[in-house]
């Protein structure tokens, strides 16, 4: 069996009685651009922090780059991994240049050339003190720290917060380049458009558990369809419809029931126009997190 870049089996973390993650099973293959979707508090950061050895799991197991996170492999895992936290806290008093040098030094590497190239591409001034940086520039400094040693695995937790659209584009261009060179990218985000655009596979986490894991294409092509029509239809006619909206004579809803039944019902009504389409990932996300969600 091919060694997975990330692999968890029944990984569970409780903070006292509070749930962190529960029975989490996940497999990310080497070279994948993998999305990890979930709202705040779903367990994304707990998963990442467990994988990186910042917190110890309550039960279950996990391997990163084929190495057990609970063994004496932590240093080796971290040596081969680049991590960008959601909130990049850096040492006050240091300039960006010092910070990048410190990060490289802690890795025992000279990353000056890579750091310089990344700073130029991300338009990051290296002479400024980190406490004088805006949130976006702190994020850029964190990105360079995560990327400058050319890791095999990149774990990115909400990486685009604070970056303007141009910088987001440049950042994802860099990630795609790295991914083409073989780097595995694990992108934790609640910005679904970036997961849909850049990731090949994704997992959806809800209340600490994975509720869906598949290719982004398959996730987007679930049995639920977005139905938009103009005509006289009432909600009572279609009990399987969800996310019902009515605006200016146009009715729109998600439908995951029997399609023949839907068409038969609509055939009895006076319909002027009808469109049945795949919902976008945003809608699927809302569906997963909506009341009673869990299958699309």
């Amino acid at each position: 069996m091919e060694t997975q870049a990330l692999y968890t089996e029944h990984l569970t973390k409780y903070y006292g009685k509070a749930r962190g993650i529960r029975d989490l099973n996940l497999a990310v293959a080497p070279g994948e651009f993998f999305g990890f979707i979930g709202p705040n508090g779903a367990g994304k950061s707990t998963t990442i922090r467990t994988l990186l050895g910042l917190i110890t799991p309550s039960s279950g197991s996990a391997r990163v780059l084929g190495l057990d996170i609970l063994g004496k492999n932590r240093k080796e895992i971290l040596r081969r991994t680049g991590y960008l936290p959601s909130d990049t806290a850096l040492y006050a008093g240091l300039t960006v240049k010092d910070m990048l040098k410190l990060s490289a030094g802690l890795r025992g590497k000279d990353c000056a050339a890579q750091a310089s190239e990344l700073c130029e591409r991300l338009q990051l001034e290296t002479g400024k003190k980190v406490e004088d940086l805006s949130f976006g520039n702190r994020k850029k400094a964190g990105i360079v720290c995560a990327l400058q040693h050319r890791p095999e695995l990149l774990i990115l937790d909400e990486p685009t917060g604070g970056l303007d659209p141009l910088m987001q584009h440049e950042f994802f261009t860099i990630l795609q380049e790295r991914n083409r060179e073989g780097t595995t990218v694990f992108l934790s985000s609640h910005v679904l458009s970036e997961v849909q655009r850049y990731c090949t596979r994704a997992a959806v986490i809800r209340e600490g558990s994975i509720i869906a894991c598949d290719s982004v294409e398959t996730l987007s092509r679930t049995s639920a369809k977005r139905v938009t029509l103009r005509g006289k239809v009432t909600r009572e006619d279609l009990p399987d419809a969800r996310e019902w909206t009515e605006l200016g004579g146009t009715v729109s809803f998600l439908y995951s029931g029997d399609m023949n039944g839907l068409i038969r019902k609509l055939a009895k009504e006076n319909i002027d126009d009808l469109t049945i389409s795949e919902p976008d990932l945003e809608e699927i996300f809302l569906h997963f997190y909506g009341k009673g969600g869990g299958e699309a």
Binding site: Y15, R49, L52, L54, I55, D87, A89, L106, R107, G108
Partner: protein, 261 residues
């Protein structure tokens, strides 16, 4: 090594301020000594006749009119309290400071084992204590020479060695405490240092509280006791070494398995 240098770089301003402050106080006191010396009889009589107060600070056993007595009491207290506070701050901030400032996540996602982090932090604190004590020792010796007194090398070195060891012990204990904290512990560190100082005063005041001298490092770093016996109290020092080892052991044991918040 990178982490040790980083720690020292972050700490050098604080270290400089504390070293200058403690050193300057000692220099000022020593430059006041010639004036005090001229009033030896009245001052010695005054200080040795204040009952419990004299006992608390060792004024009943040391002659304030001699350089050794004056240094053991006046300068010893400055270096004792100042050094203890510095060591407590350095120790308690070493690990908990990273979590308070949110930089622990940055540091611990680099390829360093937790044990290496504790070792580097401990080494950086020890280097700071060595630097502070070396500079203060040289300033003290220089000031004694500058006021025209013969330098009592043995007594001076013993006193400074005792305070150096006191600071090491407090730093080690505070490092251990630091591993259990999440949001910094300046108050706890300073409180502990001050409490240990007062425990020694209580022990000085009451003969029945003699055992407290084995708990507080001020017990073996007591100027009156050191100058009286011409040596550091070995058993108390051994007890202090035990507390230091426990502190460092606790730091490794806790931090290596700690969930970083």
């Amino acid at each position: 090594m990178t982490l040790i240098l980083h720690e020292l770089r972050r700490a050098w301003k604080t270290l400089t301020v504390w070293t200058c402050a403690i050193g300057a106080f000692i220099v000022i006191c020593l430059f006041m000594y010639p004036e005090m010396k001229s009033q030896t009889e009245s001052i010695s009589a005054l200080f040795s006749s204040m009952g419990a107060f004299s006992a608390a600070f060792g004024l009943d056993t040391l002659d304030f009119g001699t350089l050794k007595g004056f240094y053991g009491i006046e300068c010893g207290n400055i270096l004792g309290i100042g050094g203890a506070l510095f060591a407590a701050l350095a120790g308690v901030n070493a690990l908990a400071g990273e979590e308070k400032e949110g930089t622990a996540e940055f540091l611990l996602t680099h390829p360093l084992s937790r044990a290496e982090v504790v070792t580097c932090k401990l080494a950086a604190v020890m280097i700071q204590i060595v630097c502070l004590n070396t500079v203060v020792y040289l300033m003290a010796a220089g000031s004694i020479a500058a006021v025209g007194e013969a330098i009592p090398w043995k007594e001076l070195s013993l006193l400074h060695l005792a305070f150096f060891l006191l600071q090491i012990e407090i730093a080690c204990v505070c490092l251990g405490i630091s591993a259990f904290l999440w949001r910094g512990g300046v108050g706890i560190g300073l409180g502990l240092a001050i409490a240990l100082y007062f425990v020694n005063i209580v022990a000085n005041l009451s003969g029945s509280a003699e055992a407290l001298k084995y708990i507080t490092p001020f017990g073996y770093a007591d100027g009156a006791d050191i100058l009286g016996r011409g040596a550091i109290h070995g058993t108390r020092l051994l007890a202090g070494a035990g507390f230091a080892v426990c502190g460092v052991g606790a730091a490794y044991a806790k931090y290596c398995t700690k969930d970083i918040g």
